[in-house]
């Protein structure tokens, strides 16, 4: 059973969002990291770039498989987890903590309404 914190929002593409004021911290869920297996590389945008909800913002490589990452909200990237360059395994070890990926200053916080709560995400992963 994967861990689904109740204080986060979730996309159907298995990203989580932690809202801090007008900012959204984004990563992939425990379910996602478990399904992907050992993460060996994370390709993330640079701070200062913009991301669009529903569009790719980077990629994650598990053992010989590269996958797209989708932005759950739109906005400007204000912080990137640079430590993932040297220790991508943090995404496996602590997906909601040190395995976070980017922090975005949101253009439109109402986009959060399109995301799932923990219960909804639990149901989504059970489909």
């Amino acid at each position: 059973m994967s861990h689904i914190p109740s204080n986060l929002k979730y996309s159907k593409e298995h990203e989580w969002v932690r809202v801090e004021g007008n900012r959204a911290v984004i990563g992939i869920t425990d379910f996602a990291q478990s399904e992907l297996g050992d993460i060996v590389f994370v390709d993330l945008p640079q701070a200062g770039s913009t991301v669009q909800a529903g569009s790719t913002f980077g990629s994650v490589e598990s053992v010989k498989t590269v996958s797209d990452l989708f932005a759950p909200v739109s906005g400007r990237v204000v912080r990137v987890n640079e430590s993932l360059a040297d220790r991508p395994e943090q995404v496996n070890e602590d997906p909601y903590g040190s395995g976070w990926m980017i922090e975005v200053e949101m253009d439109d916080p109402t986009e959060l309404d399109q995301l799932l709560d923990a219960e909804g995400y639990q149901a989504h992963t059970s489909d």
Binding site: E13, E61, V66, D68, A85
Partner: protein
């Protein structure tokens, strides 16, 4: 367990030899362009046979080039005339040049898409069936010390013949996504390559990139060393390909890659047809 039609996303598959030898990076990126068309339903799922561009060098992954030191190492190799192309699948560096053949399954992502393992099994089953046609017995498994090592290497006699990798676009691998996308399951086949030179170049790249990966030439093998030229030529000829075996002096890496490509094209079509999948020639890459 996913059915074959679940994995293909259709009951029809185009099987085609599509390559662009004059533009090496475009040749690699064609998988991405075709994948976008498959994802949007503009073309059916595709099994693509393609040759590497003739210039010797390497295909590296985005991960290989993640640091400035690695990019500088790649630039140095390019400056010396080596080809360095970047592929969109995972893994590590593989030799490129005349005598290297590629095989890509480019399939739409669906709500019933299976696991990455299921696509690796499909890819390698097609390749193992192709090799069986030459009388070569192959299996899958890891082979430490081989280039781009992984669980789904295709191995013959304890040495690696084929490396494999995947890319999932439109969401995370093996998981449901509301976005259209495609799955690229890719194989790189050493037909007739100087493995000593190729692995030396890989090791030089990683040393200059400051990365720990190292490979050994003796861990790998080429099809040239497993299949006599007359068998390679006869198989190609029986499928309408290179219908004759040229004099020894003309049996170049390119000739062997062409003959192998013709054989693989036919073997892939036969594999899917035998399992109830309608196969068709693909439209050009346009």
């Amino acid at each position: 367990m996913s059915s074959l039609t679940d994995l293909l996303g259709a009951e029809v598959l185009a099987v085609a030899w599509l390559d662009d030898l004059r533009h090496p990076q475009d040749n690699v990126d064609l998988d991405v362009r075709l994948g976008g068309e498959v994802a949007r339903g503009l073309r059916p799922p595709l099994a693509r046979v393609w040759r590497a561009a003739p210039e010797p060098g390497l295909a590296v992954s985005l991960r290989d080039l993640a640091t400035a030191q690695a990019q500088a190492a790649a630039d140095r190799l390019r400056g010396e005339g080596w080809l360095v192309v970047v592929r969109n699948t995972g893994g590590t560096a593989v030799p490129q040049g005349d005598g290297v053949l590629h095989f890509s399954l480019i399939l739409p992502r669906t709500r019933r898409s299976g696991s990455t393992d299921a696509y690796y099994r499909l890819l390698t089953e097609v390749l193992i069936a192709w090799l069986a046609g030459y009388g070569v017995e192959a299996a899958t498994g890891p082979l430490p010390g081989s280039y781009c090592d992984g669980q789904y290497n295709v191995v013959v006699g304890g040495r690696k013949l084929i490396g494999t990798a995947q890319s999932w676009r439109g969401g995370l691998a093996g998981m449901a996504s509301g976005h259209p996308g495609y799955i690229l399951a890719h194989a790189c086949i050493m037909i007739d390559v100087d493995l000593v030179s190729g692995t030396r170049l890989i090791n030089r790249f990683y040393a200059e990139a400051g990365l720990p990966d190292r490979v050994r030439a003796e861990a790998s093998v080429c099809l040239r060393d497993l299949v006599p030229d007359d068998v390679l030529g006869a198989q190609a000829g029986s499928h309408g390909g290179a219908a004759f075996v040229p004099p020894v002096s003309a049996r170049t890496p390119r000739w062997r890659a062409d003959a192998a490509a013709a054989g693989l094209l036919a073997a892939a079509a036969a594999y899917f047809a035998a399992r109830g999948i309608r196969t068709a020639a693909a439209a050009g890459a346009g």
